[in-house]
């Protein structure tokens, strides 16, 4: 067991409620810990690898940032200039100066391509590795037909300690859930902005007025009062089955000191918090680092407003790129400084890129045929450029890769065979990716 951060602190009430106890599981803590240890899958020598997935919802304009086309006409290349990075020969956008000095820590895949330029289905494709099929209901929250990467990871590898194995912050992407892998693989979503001064994970602790003796009473009462808890009826109805599973996990979370500390950003030095940027994106990335240190296997950071149909350049320059510059550079530097970059995969992508040709509103529209993805850490070599786009970044020129391949690479780095199968509740085997190929050129 390489992760040692999931100790439980003997704090008054919390411990005495007994993890899972309020829910009729009634397990003493030592038994619960033993159960968790026993539930751990064995034989994965990559058990200490974690995954931070930064999802830029709306679609990052990679032609303006990580795959610039200075020789294209101005109607395509736009007003931004490129700048050199700490990797000789590699240039990125001039408005990402801090990121440019961490270029040696990540690689750019410049030939990502897929066939769907609609937000909902494209999100699903990139987040799960599966293009949605018939009956896909984009409005559902979650809308998963297949599990998100984080859910698959949680399902295959299980929790590391009392902290949830898969966390979304500050919100869950609509395709961020577990589909047929069930509630145990669904993410815990923070539902609060880590950059706000009074940030706290809502309802993590019992109200102060309720002391430990009363928590015990409540636990005991629950076991007798709730006639459906643990019943066949509870299990025979998907809604109550889910609720019971989530309640058990909620109690685990309440009893985990590691989790409570990980959520407490005030334990970080001000200087480091400033380095990440005091923005939702920046503080979410910082919390992501704390969470993987505490045992979470996959943290998805969702950040929106990248759908720059209007005034793409102004919005990028004034708002989005400065936030991204701080957050990504600080994340890579911080992970490296702590010596955990080698064990932490970081992927940054939107659901697609944006049109090579600038539209009438000085914006760029959806473009899934070719865009770039950033990958670093966890066994990915830094400083490389993988794949190539054509002269206007409209199509891959070399080595096209799809979302399946992205997922396969992440799974591979976590010790999950991309072609191994999960079973749906009705016994149907489904592969982790649909024939995804590991992108070997990225690996160190």
């Amino acid at each position: 067991m390489k992760s040692t951060s999931h100790h439980f602190a003997p704090r008054r009430d919390i411990l005495r409620i007994g993890a899972g106890g309020a829910l009729g599981l009634n397990l003493p803590l030592d038994k619960l810990l033993a159960k968790q240890a026993a539930a751990k899958p064995v034989g994965n020598d990559k058990d200490d690898v974690s995954f931070i997935f930064v999802f830029l919802k709306g679609g990052l304009s990679t032609i303006d940032t990580f795959d610039m086309k200075p020789d294209a006409p101005s109607s395509v290349r736009g007003p931004f200039k490129s700048m050199s990075t700490n990797v000789p020969g590699t240039r990125i956008c001039e408005y990402l100066p801090k990121v440019s000095r961490t270029m040696d820590k990540f690689s750019i895949l410049r030939s990502m391509t897929h066939s769907n330029a609609g937000h909902g289905p494209a999100d699903h494709y990139v987040i799960t590795g599966y293009h949605p099929g018939p009956g896909f209901n984009v409005g559902l929250k979650p809308n998963n037909q297949h599990p998100a990467m984080g859910s698959l990871i949680a399902s295959r590898l299980g929790p590391r300690g009392g902290i949830p194995p898969y966390i979304c912050l500050p919100t869950m992407p609509n395709s961020g859930s577990s589909a047929y892998l069930g509630p145990d693989a669904a993410p815990f979503t923070i539902e609060a902005d880590p950059s706000s001064p009074d940030f706290a994970v809502p309802d993590l602790l019992p109200p102060l007025a309720v002391d430990s003796a009363r928590l015990d009473d409540r636990r005991d009462l629950m076991a007798t009062v709730d006639r459906f808890r643990g019943s066949v009826e509870q299990q025979a109805n998907s809604g109550s089955r889910e609720l019971a599973a989530f309640s058990a996990r909620a109690t685990d979370l309440m009893t985990s000191l590691a989790a409570r500390e990980a959520f407490d950003l005030s334990r970080e030095p001000d200087k480091l918090r400033d380095a990440y940027g005091r923005t939702t994106l920046g503080q979410s990335c910082l919390m992501a680092r704390r969470l993987v240190e505490a045992g979470t296997r996959c943290v998805t950071v969702e950040h929106s407003n990248w759908d720059t149909h209007y005034y793409n350049f102004r919005v990028l320059h004034d708002d989005l790129l400065p936030k991204l510059d701080l957050a990504m550079s600080a994340l890579f530097t911080d992970l490296a400084d702590r010596g955990i970059l080698k064990k932490t995969i970081v992927v940054l992508t939107g659901e697609f890129g944006r049109t090579p040709v600038i539209n009438k509103e000085e914006g760029r529209d959806h473009w899934s045929r070719c865009f770039s993805v950033l990958l670093g850490g966890g066994g990915i070599e830094g400083g490389r450029l993988i794949g190539k786009s054509d002269k206007w970044a409209s199509d891959p020129a070399e080595d096209p890769y799809g979302p399946e391949d992205l997922c396969a690479t992440v799974y591979h780095l976590l010790g999950i065979d991309p072609r191994s199968e999960s079973l749906t509740p009705d016994g149907r085997p489904v592969m982790a990716t649909k024939n995804g190929r590991v992108i070997n050129d990225l690996l160190s």
Partner: protein
Amino acid sequence: MRYFRQPARTALRVAVFLTFLSGLQAVDFLQDVAPALSRYGCNGSSCHGKAEGQNGFKLSVFGSDLDADYAAIVHHSRGRRLMEAAPGMSLFLLKATGEIPHEGGGRFAKGSPGYRLFLDWIKGGVPFLEGEVREAKGLRVEPAERILGQGEGQSLNVFLEYVDGGSKDVTWLAEFHTNDPGLADVDENGLVTIGKTSGKTAVLARYGGHVATFRAIVPQPGEFGQYPALPARNFIDTHIDKGLRDLNIHPAALADEPTFLRRAYLDIAGRIPTASEARAYLADPDRKALVDTLLESPGYVDYASLLWADILRVDSDALGQRDAYAYYRAIHSAIAQNVPLDEFVRKFLTATGPLPENPAGHFHRVNNKPGQTAAMAAQTFLGLRITCAECHQHPYDRWTQEDYYGFQAYFASVSPKALGANQFALLANKPPTAKHPRTGERIVAHPLGETQPEEAASGDQRPELASWMTSPENPWFSRNMANRIWARLLGRGLVEPVDDFRSTNPASHPELLVALADYLVQHNYDGKALIRLITSSHTYQLASTTSPANQNDEKNFSRALFRRLPAEVLMDAVCDATGVPEKFTRSAPGMRAVQLWDSRHEHYFLKLFGRPARVSPCECDRATGASISQALHLMNSPAIEAKLAHAGGLMARLNETFPDDTRLVDELYLTCFARYPTQTEKDQATKYLHRKAAHRQQAVQDLAWSMLNSIEFLFNH
């Protein structure tokens, strides 16, 4: 080749194919080759059908533009795709068979029927059309329905039926698709294989834009003893009973009075009964009278208005506070008057004039574009999702772009005009036409699925649209309305999702759906009449108790399903059970959550439990799923704790009013669960209160806390 690995069946297919060839009909593009392009997946949206094509060869997606497809194959790339002099050397065939590298792999083997079809077409001089178009009227699958055991197989045969009465076997050119992989799988030759689960499902066959379905009924295995027939109180029970018998699923017993009481309150009035209401009903239960009372209660109007406001999109972000409120009031007052559903829909569809006087017209303002309003009208009133057809033929239904733009044209005539003071009037002064995005042709307003009229009618055509929609002959309107009402009461639509009527998404009980729709028509679209009918059925009144014979079923109405209370209803239930109302900002004191008209009202609890933002007309916008955050909130929320501990709240009152523990426990159970406690429950609770007598008030709170966190409270069951 893996595509033809079943020798016996291939032989049959070849035989059929040879018959077809000897039928003296030459192979042409329109009637033979085009369907084959779909059959072999060439024009799929991830292959040559995607917007940019694939490797320089582009087909229209799902064959929506056959002229262009013909040109792409025959003429483009300097005609090098086909070689009439040596047909077998055509690039098209070499690629399709995988003889030269093809990203899509080999689609059919050399010498296979598919190969010979294309070969004969090339040999015949690549005609676009030979002779007259023989007009097809639809597709037929044989068999249409069968009861099959787990692991069994069934070959399907597909026939194209012509208007002239003839038919043609097109099995080998049809595409097959299953709605439930695992329950029934199907290969490309139409061989259905049943998996290891049971239930009902549909396998679809498509050919040339037509769809037909095979329904597989797979009974669950096992011996459960004598089937306990579902007593037939009305036709609903007869249909449900037949479905259960077919599947070897047993119905549950009738629900007891307290269960029915709570369920009826939640389903009809959107709230839990108070302790005194529960006590009164249990002393003198009458299910029919209860339903009648609830249907006339203010709760019915508030709750029904809330659900309609979701799908009609009362969205203050889109409309502004004032107009969103006016729009909501239009819904609320129509429901209060129990306006028949056809009239209700007409009111929104056809609204015109100054909006302050005709607030239902905000229906036409909540979207920016006529296309969005049209799509919303189709989904909300007909249960049809037509937006796929905005850009191409709907891949899973019959809708073409002509259907889509013809429907949109009804709404193109309407636009809001500023009246000053930020007020608007709806004017319908533009022509009811739309432009086909590909051909540029003018498309005249016309109903879905009908041919476009030669002459454009002038003026506002929305009244005609409303008449078409709500006519008893319209196959969607009454079924959609009946299905929505059914789903609200039973927790699941006969068509599911409720607003996704599609030829490829058949109802679980098609005959029942038609019968419910007819009932609605016969009762002049009175929604309350249908609620009375459904709630009086034995099916609605079943217990949620499981048995081995129905514990795996959540789709066939063998027992009442557990349904988590919707966000607003749950919020109100917490307030009612603690006796402390929620104070909503910018709202009058005493306002209940189900009465909130503004979906944008900041509220953590409501958001957490899935209140919809009303950004789409989809019922799915209202989330019903659970999460860790919900569980944490119910256990630890300071807001709920404050209600339990409130000095003027119910727990304090109970503690003072009922020094007798037994009576207090009765009252608490009636309040939270709408029933009296069992003897065991009563003993346990009184023993607990006795033990905690020194802190009785707190003990009552802790008891109530455990009740609020229970499945019995959180779910309608």
